[in-house]
Each structure stands twice: as structure tokens, then as C-alpha cells.
């Protein structure tokens, strides 16, 4: 499970949606780490938002793009800070989709494991917020009438 430790640049991006089976496999891989007592997982799912500025506008899918080099550099810093803040954390796995992800599909996963629940829970909430605020990832929301608007994190 050394791949979950900090200090090296890991590619968080995956092409297409994150399959639920991938998350189950990720959980299963941790079975050998019997020092872990808690997993905390955040999953982001594409929501079929209503877009009031477009008549009958509803999000069908989001097409994600990213400034990869900067995103991975930022992610490495966030990861290192997370391991400094929660040194007991055993591992931290982050994946974000690129390309076209349909409403109802998963596009984002933050998975932390630790001996006890508090570290894992706090770390996941903190890492999710940092990623949303700092990673240069862009989302083109494709609407029911094939027009689009650009998603902006609040």
C-alpha cells in the first residue's frame, strides 16, 4: 500500500466515469493492512441540475478538462499537507474523471484510511474542499437542448 503515501506526483485523472466496481476493488485492496481501523470515502456524482437561464435546461452530462501539470502539482502539495495534519493516516487515494460524465455517474473519489475514524473523516472533508478550491479542473455542463454552460464551484 506504499502507493498511497506522499512525496511523489501521482496521476489522479481517469478518462471517463469512475465505476462503482473500482471503488469496491479499492476497498478490497486494503484488507491486508490490518493496522487500518477506518475508511472514509467521498464520492462526487454528476447532478442533473436545472439551469434556469436556459428554457427546460437540465444538465445531462459534464465534460471535464484540466490543466494537468498544475493540478497534479497542487494535488501533491495538498497530499503532503494532509499527511502532515493527520500523520496517523495510513493512505489517501484521489481520482477525478476527465471527459464526458453523464448525470448519475461518479466523477470524483477521495478515499482515506487510518487506524481510527476521526483522522480519516477529517482528512477527507479537508482534502475534498481543497481540491474543489485549488485544482484547475474545468466543467462544461451539457444541457438537454445540446447547449452548454460552464460549471463554477461556489
Amino acid at each position: 500500500m506504499s502507493d498511497g503515501r506522499p512525496h511523489k506526483v501521482k496521476d489522479i485523472f481517469v478518462e471517463g466515469a469512475i465505476p462503482a466496481s473500482f471503488i469496491a476493488e479499492n476497498i478490497a485492496k486494503h484488507a491486508t493492512r490490518t493496522d487500518i481501523g477506518a475508511h472514509e470515502i467521498f464520492l462526487g456524482q454528476v447532478r442533473a441540475d436545472v439551469v434556469p437561464s436556459v428554457q427546460d435546461g437540465r444538465v445531462q452530462a459534464i465534460e471535464f478538462t484540466a490543466y494537468r501539470e498544475m493540478a497534479l502539482e497542487r494535488m501533491t502539495i495538498i497530499r503532503e499537507e494532509a499527511f502532515t495534519k493527520w500523520p496517523a493516516m495510513t493512505c489517501l487515494h484521489v481520482h477525478h474523471s476527465l471527459g464526458c460524465i453523464k448525470a448519475g455517474e461518479l466523477c470524483f473519489m477521495v478515499f482515506a484510511s487510518a487506524p481510527h475514524r476521526i483522522q480519516a473523516r477529517e482528512a477527507v472533508a479537508w482534502v475534498v474542499d481543497r481540491i474543489k478550491a485549488e485544482l484547475p479542473i474545468f466543467g462544461r455542463e451539457i444541457l438537454s437542448d445540446a447547449s452548454h454552460v460552464w460549471k463554477t464551484n461556489s
Binding site: 478538462t65 498544475m70 497542487r74 481540491i131 485544482l135 484547475p136 460552464w150
Partner: protein, 74 residues
Amino acid sequence: MNVLLFGSIAEKAGVALLQVEATSLSALRVELIKRIPGLEHMRYAIAVDRKVMIGERPLTGSEEIAVLPPFAGG
């Protein structure tokens, strides 16, 4: 210098890469507004060597410059 464009800004410009001559960040901003229609009405940040920069600084031309619309990850 090469300027990378992303998301809604690349869409406005019609390209993902611009060639711009500028010796400072403020000169670059002026040049970008001339070259990208509607940029002055958009929210964006400029990254120099993959770090978001605010205020003024000189540019040598060897930096990696990117114009970033609001982030939407997660």
C-alpha cells in the same frame, strides 16, 4: 511566449494556445484583453509556472503561462 488557455476562455478565444509578447504580467493582461473577445467581463486567474499570480511581476518569456477560468472540479 506561449499562453495556455482553458475551459470557457479557450472557447472564447477559439484556440487553446496563444503566442503573446509581454515583459510583465500587467502587459500580458492588456494583450490578452485585446486578443480574447469578452475576456474583460470574465472571471479568470493567470498562472505563472503553475502558480496563480496576483499583482505585478516581470516576465522573461521562458515562463509557462496559463489563463484559468473558475475551477469546477469535484
